[in-house]
Amino acid sequence: MTATETTPDAPLSEAGNPIGFGRMLRKEDARFLRGQGHYVDDVKLPGMLHGSILRSPMAHARIVSIDTSAAEAMDGVHAVITGEVLEGLGLAWMPTLSNDTQSVLVTDKVRFQGQEVAFVVADSGYLAQDARDRIVVEYEQLPAVVDAKQALADDAPVIRDDLEGRTDNKIYDWEAGNLEETDRVFADAEVVVTQEMLYPRVHPAPMETCGSVAHMDPVTGKLVIWTTTQAPHAHRTLYALVAGLPEHKIQVISPDIGGGFGNKVGIYPGYVCSIVGSIVTGKPVKWMEDRAGNLMSTSFARDYHMTGSIAATRDGDIQGLRVDVLADHGAFNGVAQPTKYPAGFFHIFTGSYDYGAAHCNVRAVYTNKAPGGVAYACSFRITEAVYLVERMIDVLADELDMDPAELRMKNLLQPEQFPYTTPTGWEYDSGDYPRALQKALDMAGYDDLRAEQADKQRAFDAGESTEVMGIGISFFTEGVGAGPRKHMDILGLGMADGCELRIHPTGKAVLRISVQSQGQGHETTFAQIVSQELGLPPEDIDVVHGDTDNTPFGLGTYGSRSTPVSGAAAAVVSHRIRDKARIIAATSLECDPDDLEWEPGRWFVKGSPETGQTVQESAFAAHGSMELPEGVEGHLDAQTVYNPPNLTYPFGAYICVTNVDTATGEVTVRRFIAVDDCGPRINPMIVEGQVHGGLADGIGMALMEVIAFDADGNHLGGSFMDYLLPTSMECPSWELGETVTPSPHHPIGVKGVGESATVGSPPAVVNSVLDAIGVRHADMPLTPAAVWRALQGSPLRTDLAIE
């Protein structure tokens, strides 16, 4: 495969779908558009009861007493479960995905506002909530650690006094890169610029909140749990480990999922409570989280306080980058990332440029906030890394009085440098960065935009207008598709994905995959992969996912890993089917397999194209009575476990054009140009949809989304009235572009794209706003107040309550 400008289109099937890659309507949409999707909350079982969680109103408080008697006395209330009850079952605490422990229901003290205190099981959801409000809890309030910068102060209260021997709030110190070399480069550099910045705490905020329906069959001893999980197999194994249930007696079903973005990777106390509720009552128990619960207690994202320094020559040759990070992990270290990398993939922070040296140090602390940390389409913290480097490039451009496009172009990695090993040890697989940036600049009409900006600035300077204009660029390199399994795991489970493909006698196919769509369109995309490799129409291929009893093991969907890993697995099983079909065809045609040649959908005799056998015919023959060669089994199926040799590295160039009203601080995003290179596009429409969503995320984070806390640890974003998501009114009509640089190590060259736009877009928006107002740095979200304050020279601290 070679680099191209666009992905070519495939021939069409009788149903009008591309046989292979190309635009087609999503198979899922037939049910979604009719309102026939089937989500966890749609699961209704005979005799099902409903659970509700009582959450702590305080961020840090010792539990003095919990009186459940009034709730238990209500008609229709079946159980009120507290930490004390769970302690008896050994379930009051559970492991987190970072080898920490997390409270299921509180036993000693609450450690963040919204923490789970008790679980009511009742006949209806309404009744459960009424009963929940009749539980009386006496709290003894403790001082809360809200400001991560104060978490390590001598007088800071110790949040995790449940951990043996713990005397402070530090979780870890971790570093990557070459400190000595970096020190040397910085000592000798002509120009060094340092900038503090915060990537504030945000929330994935999926449309569907988290939930589960647990049914422990008292007769068979089998637990079936319908739940909102991006990683059904990992959840099954964890339930087996946590609850001591035999793994073969657990079935995790993840039906249609209404958005995940990393929010649905972890196991939440509510899931465990629904299981315990079912065990205690002998009935199925449904728990659906409310919006406040989702925003306040489930996996947040970011919360990285970063201090970056960049070293360069006076004419703009970048020589080194270093960063110190203070990572706020909340009350429990619940970050979902590979064991080797406590800061996720943050050490990819050198981005898309050529350096002599780089070093990062990450210090993580506990605070009285919700646990989580790797979520919101962040690619294991590459979002934070890209923000850091792309802001630092603009800071350097400001220092050198250089055009930020020129500075980037001057320092981008060149195509011939790939595969390229970064100073912190990542091996980028392939890329043509200057081509992508140039394409974005051309699409934007960069020179004309700069001229328009200068005109507007003249009018502003003359007092004729309060409006100024900004042009912001970001260039990102993503790293997606974890494993390899030897380097990447979740709680010791290696990141490799199983896959099974079976062709029925009539040539219809069923593909079973381990990853789980949360809206990405896997049923379409994966059918198209098989279609591309076998020449079957995509409508003849069904994709089964989200049910541990019916799919092979694998680690699930996050970090844009579905296509790079399970997509590769689907290609591998397709190739195995193709190889077996060759033997079947050769047997049928009474020729040597080596005499056959492949064209999409069939094997034919070399030099005699009319003599051949389609995959469908081979499938029937494989199930028929024909004698097969020695060692060849009947039927047409294949399986694999794909262990990726490396990550894939999608990349892109984004340009954001804004107008800023300096008198009110209001920002208008006028244009957004996004050139993405994710290798060949399986379904360009789905890719564009993914990019659209991620760009909207970027506008959200850059301009409005934030979870701040007041001094008592009160969560200031617990509803959609307070936690603002962007709407169509804040988003321009996206201008998308494409270059295609295939991954050399992926069986079909694809790289994954789910998180690219979320990773790449926030710095473009921020760079644009700051370019407009001529301020070197101000933290997200750039609300009107934040912009105005930045213009006054007194920027807001966005992670704390505004005073």
């Binding site: 509803s719 009114m729 006054q792």
Partner: protein, 304 residues
Amino acid sequence: MQVPETFDYERVATVEEALQRLSHHGDEARLIAGGHSLLPMMKLRLALPEVLIDINDVPGLDHVRVVAGGEGGGGGEDEIAIGALVRHAAILTDPILGEHWPIFADAERKIADPLVRNRGTIGGSVCQADPAEDLSAVITALRGSVVVQSADGRRTVPIREFHTGPWETVVGDGEMVVEVRVPIRTSVGSAYEKVERRVGDWAVAAAGTFLRMDGNTIAEAGIGLAAVGATHMTCPEAEESLVGGPADADAFATAAGIVSAAVDPTADQRGPVDYKRHLAGELTRRALARSADRARDDSLREDA
């Protein structure tokens, strides 16, 4: 799922019936029309009414019409009467309001979103008494009034006396708002300016103004302010500073300065005090400038 505490629900067919039920239940009852403020508060269990009295079926509350001076308990001049059940969407497109007071459409374009505007009512808006509520600021700018009915009859309360504090009004048990009145003037211009963090969010700050011109002199000025802690949502000193002078940039800057100094905003996640104070002035200035432009157009139209 966030659900309210248990409550009773009654649906009434006439104003009299609504008043009777309100008297019967006393303080535990709330009227519901659009419900876009009340229901979220109930779901968050911040509001715990025992009875909701649904007035959506009540006839005679969805009019916008011109009434002659003094008719139906109003003031001495011609007015526009707006029934309490008139929805935001209707206000946005109403031709009478559009002709006399474009400030309404300015504000409505920035109130919530089309879904909310299809349900929310003007009566609910003024009774919610949210300090950030836009229509209350509009009516305040225009020195409108609110018609309150009880079993004993109707009384008309000037909007600037209607709100007694955040989320509090003069409406007593057994009373309901049936109408909002705004005066009709000639040679006027009006405008509304609002800054929000995102479409549909409450105002960070908002200002609505009108100017009545006598030639080149400002004969009357009205200012309404939302979300900035202005007493009775207005600033009389700024209004007074404008009357008798020219409608020019200096006058507007002076009025804006008075507003900035007079308001008493609270810091929250929408912004710090200094910003909101600045914004109150800046938006007042902008609204006044647009009001003056529109007044000029209004005068030209009258002359023609």
